[in-house]
Symmetry: C2
Subunit: 219 residues, 2 copies
């Protein structure tokens, strides 16, 4: 048995992200530290440490004297995040050895084609999507870049919930993944990164229409 000793703040952070994924938190509403700490069975200290970490990642925002809250969704911010992730993922692909990309291509194609049934649960679809992107990046040697991507993507999750469950959009996503994989299989990395950027830009456009207060500051 592998005994793991990890700081509470990390475990709490993960639990909070999980709950955010489940949509447990109302965006824009200040969250109560004592209530949350009690619920989690920890004291306020490690909870606050986790909250501060999440604030540093841009997932929460903090206001002096008023505590923390999950940042309200905003079309502008989602667009900003998409641009960033698009740029970073493209960079990660460019930094990956061409041979590795070539080796990865078949698996990526298979994964994209085996997109889960449209009936499948939202969560499952999102996990599948994440898996595809993780596989794509798996051979990138720049560890800091991968960390950064993970962090930025965590801040996007609450947006991707809004899109899930739309058949046409999912089909389009799978199709785009296939195209990217095909470019990689053909050894055409510039085309692949361009398609990858398009994938995120498309995602942004798909989303902005259904974000309350899209384009504007949101609130």
């Amino acid at each position: 048995m592998a005994i793991q000793r990890r700081p509470l703040r990390e475990q709490i952070r993960e639990e909070l992200l999980l709950r955010l994924d489940r949509g447990d938190f109302a965006a824009g509403k200040d969250l109560n530290e004592v209530a949350l700490a009690t619920e989690l069975g920890v004291s306020r200290t490690p909870l606050r440490e986790a909250l501060i970490t999440l604030a540093g990642e841009g997932i929460l925002e903090s206001n002096q004297g008023r505590g923390f809250r999950f940042a309200p969704v905003s079309g502008k911010e989602f667009g900003d995040l998409c641009e960033i992730v698009a740029g970073l993922e493209a960079l990660a692909v460019e930094l990956t050895a061409p041979d590795d990309l070539l080796a990865l291509a078949p698996d990526l194609l298979r994964l994209a084609q085996g997109f889960p049934d449209r009936i499948a649960a939202q969560q499952e679809i999102e996990i599948h999507d994440d898996e595809w992107h993780d596989l794509l990046l798996s051979k990138c040697p720049n560890e800091r870049l991968l960390d950064l991507l993970t962090s930025v993507k965590a801040g996007m999750r609450r947006y991707t919930h809004l899109i899930a469950g739309e058949d046409a959009l999912l089909e389009r996503e799978a199709e785009e993944h296939c195209r990217i994989a095909e470019h990689l299989a053909a050894g055409d990395i510039p085309a692949a990164t361009a398609a990858l950027r398009d994938n995120w830009v498309d995602g942004m456009e798909r989303m902005t229409s259904r974000i309350p207060g899209a384009g504007a500051d949101g609130g």
Copy 2:
């Protein structure tokens, strides 16, 4: 008088970054929380909050039961960071309105040409360099991207100290800035971003030779 009420953790974070810039901390050595807190005149609580924030930014690393330490320099990590900043800055330029870049070009050129005297203090030169890059990015509308850049750059500062004070290298830096500004003045944004990437790649190469344990993991 503008009354400022900011959380201690933020002020402490800035102070720690300042001290890091001054080279007060021995990299790789665990830092003592009680001693540091006493020195700063605060309790351990907000200090630890600042440390956790810095750890989230990759500037510190934390080990269970052993506290925090400034991550030891490593050629590999510096290279990773350069690639990231190069990619992000190039992205920021691409996202800036061409008109804004055109308007910015003369100021950028002037600033690059007026590079401080080689006799000037290290710190002054670094500030000047930062100013140039800040001006370059000043019209980028993607706020999250700018935040991210600030954070990543903060983690690089302890590396840039190692290079300062080398005449030839500084001259080269100024020269590259001029070239980028000229591309922008000519409205050739792709050439400018390419030169910008080169600027960072060059910076990486300039540095790796003088980082202890360059290329390898550094330790």
